[in-house]
């Protein structure tokens, strides 16, 4: 009897073991990052798993190499401004494509969706040259500009706009509101959860952006936290204690956004398959 019950429970136990290992492996690097920040470089590369006493030394040596307020300011500025403009432009377009349909606009919309397949690698050389002509190399404008009109976010807003009640728009028109007033005074407040989800996704993309800033931002005064970690870690003899401080600083904002807005986060990621 007991062996039978055990045999029946066996697949269950296996499930938990499998999920437990997966969960552990997924979380471990985050724990490693926190432990590493308290250890010396030598201890980190020798895999020390206990909390050390070098946190202050690591922070101090990180601060001597990195102008932290400037770097964080650069990252935050790019992420916030980039995200705000992207959401405005893309939601206007998503609204426009959904509300006013015409044969031409549908064709253009399909063409926009095709651009989802264009890899960034194919754009980076021409974009770099264009930024050179515009005198924008080494500016944050150059980082933000190419990402603003995102086919993915336009698609996301158009899909979400299908849920926007047309009666609201008709009633507002009856009251004599102009189309832009309907958009800003009715659509935006009604669709705020859509905006929240889009914010999370676009903010993450901007905050974590790497290849394009690496190309365009060449002086230390303009660099973002992502670029700083990368250059600290790629030196001949990286001090991983310092690197960990940078990794924590780069990861905290996205972790925070994730835990505060988990529902919107997942909703935003799934936005494209609905």
């Amino acid at each position: 009897m007991t062996t039978q019950r055990f045999a029946r429970a066996l697949p269950d136990i296996f499930q938990y073991v499998f999920l437990g290992i997966a969960a552990f492996l997924s979380i471990f690097p985050f724990i490693w990052m926190l432990i590493g920040a308290t250890n010396k470089n030598n201890d980190i590369i020798q895999g020390r798993l206990s909390i050390g006493s070098s946190l202050q030394d690591n922070i101090a040596s990180f601060l001597t190499k990195v102008d932290l307020p400037l770097v964080m300011w650069n990252s935050i500025k790019i992420a916030i401004i980039g995200t705000a403009i992207t959401m405005l432009v893309s939601s206007l377009a998503g609204y426009g494509f959904e509300m006013f349909r015409s044969k031409w606009r549908e064709r253009i919309y399909s063409a926009i969706l095709l651009t989802l397949m264009v890899p960034f690698a194919a754009l980076m050389i021409p974009l770099f040259k264009m930024m050179g002509w515009g005198g924008l190399i080494n500016t944050h404008t150059a980082v933000i500009l190419p990402g603003i009109a995102s086919a993915f976010i336009i698609f996301y807003f158009r899909q979400a706009s299908k849920a926007f009640p047309t009666e609201l728009r008709d009633a507002a028109k009856m009251d004599g509101l102009k189309e832009w007033q309907i958009f800003f005074y009715i659509y935006v407040p009604v669709m705020r959860s859509t905006y929240a989800a889009a914010f999370v996704i676009v903010f993450m993309l901007n905050w974590n952006n790497y290849l394009w800033p690496l190309i365009v931002l060449q002086s230390n005064e303009t660099k973002t936290i992502t670029l700083v970690i990368s250059s600290l870690a790629s030196s001949y003899t990286p001090n991983f204690g310092e690197v960990m401080i940078g990794v924590i600083l780069a990861t905290l904002p996205t972790l925070f956004v994730f835990f505060v807005m988990q529902r919107q986060f997942v909703q935003g990621m799934l936005g494209s398959v609905k």
């Binding site: 990052m33 690698a121 264009m130």
Partner: protein
């Protein structure tokens, strides 16, 4: 098709309507369509720096004779041919386990497995670089368990360097794909599974004959985006190889990294680099077409 607008305000509305989509269209034209056309134009020129001359198809011929390009292409294809199936299978298994309504702590498991998606590509690459050091935490763990007897040299042996990239990619993206499958699984009627269970269909068969076919559209979608992502692989290989060069011995050099090297590390040869970038465009287009074709065929 709804084309006509009511009332005499048609003209006014037409202008207004284009104003909504106008800014996005202008930006896409400027930062997407123009660059891709310009890139095609560039690919017809050869030479470095200021010494540039028209080459026609010369760059394409050069591609076939360039051993570094061949290596980068082979590496890129190796990465997605091996990594994408591993990750998709793992994500499917995890999603179907988590979809079990009687599973305890499913919220915890889901959040934990999804957590890697929150980390930036650079941050996690750097973390992995410290974890996979010769005497590092991963090697000592593997030695303790008894899987290996000597530490693996993850950064100097080509095979292990490639393996490390595959491990890293799988860590970062499995949870992301899993979330798509979980959402899709919730739309499948539970009673199908119950009926199969009552008929004595074992769990693996329910997975193979119910879950996988039902999720085919989502699996296709995630395979396409994962493949496109892997073809463009850059952040990880740049940050996990010494000095970002794609070593050891070019074993982790990808097409994107090669384009970067050609353009920004040495004397820029924009024309040739643009030609390599078109290889990525063609690869992405071909694979997307192929995957959609395969899915349509079986339907």
């Amino acid at each position: 098709m709804e084309t006509a607008r009511p009332g005499g305000l048609k003209r006014y509305y037409d202008v207004n309507e284009w104003l909504f989509v106008g800014p996005a269209l202008a930006l896409i034209a400027l930062f997407m369509l123009y660059p891709i056309a310009y890139s095609l134009y560039l690919s017809a020129f050869s030479g470095k720096g200021m010494m540039v001359k028209f080459a026609g198809f010369g760059n394409i011929i050069r591609l076939t004779k360039d051993p570094v390009f061949i290596t980068a292409l082979t590496n890129t294809i190796t990465f997605f041919v091996i990594q994408v199936p591993i990750m998709i299978t793992l994500a499917l298994i995890l999603a179907s386990l988590l979809n079990n309504p009687r599973l305890k702590f499913s919220g915890f498991f889901r959040t934990a497995i999804f957590l890697p998606c929150v980390s930036s590509l650079v941050a996690y690459s750097v973390l992995f670089k410290s974890m996979f050091a010769l005497d590092g935490v991963v090697n000592s763990a593997l030695e303790t368990i008894g899987i290996i007897s000597e530490p693996i040299s993850w950064f100097t042996e080509p095979f292990w360097a490639k393996t490390l990239i595959i491990i890293a990619l799988t860590w970062r993206w499995t949870g992301y794909n899993m979330i798509f499958y979980l959402a899709a699984l919730q739309n499948i009627d539970r009673s199908i599974y119950e009926a199969a269970r009552i008929d004595g269909v074992p769990a693996w068969a329910r997975f193979v004959y119910i879950t996988v076919p039902m999720l085919k559209p989502v699996i296709l979608f995630t395979t396409v985006i994962s493949t496109i992502g892997t073809i463009q692989l850059f952040d990880e290989v740049y940050n996990l190889s010494a000095e970002g060069k794609g070593g050891p011995a070019d074993s982790t050099l990808t097409l994107s990294l090669y384009i970067y090297n050609l353009t920004f590390r040495y004397m820029p040869s924009f024309g040739y680099a643009a030609t390599v970038s078109y290889v990525i465009v063609v690869l992405v287009a071909l694979l997307s077409l192929l995957q959609f074709y395969v899915a349509r065929e079986r339907r």
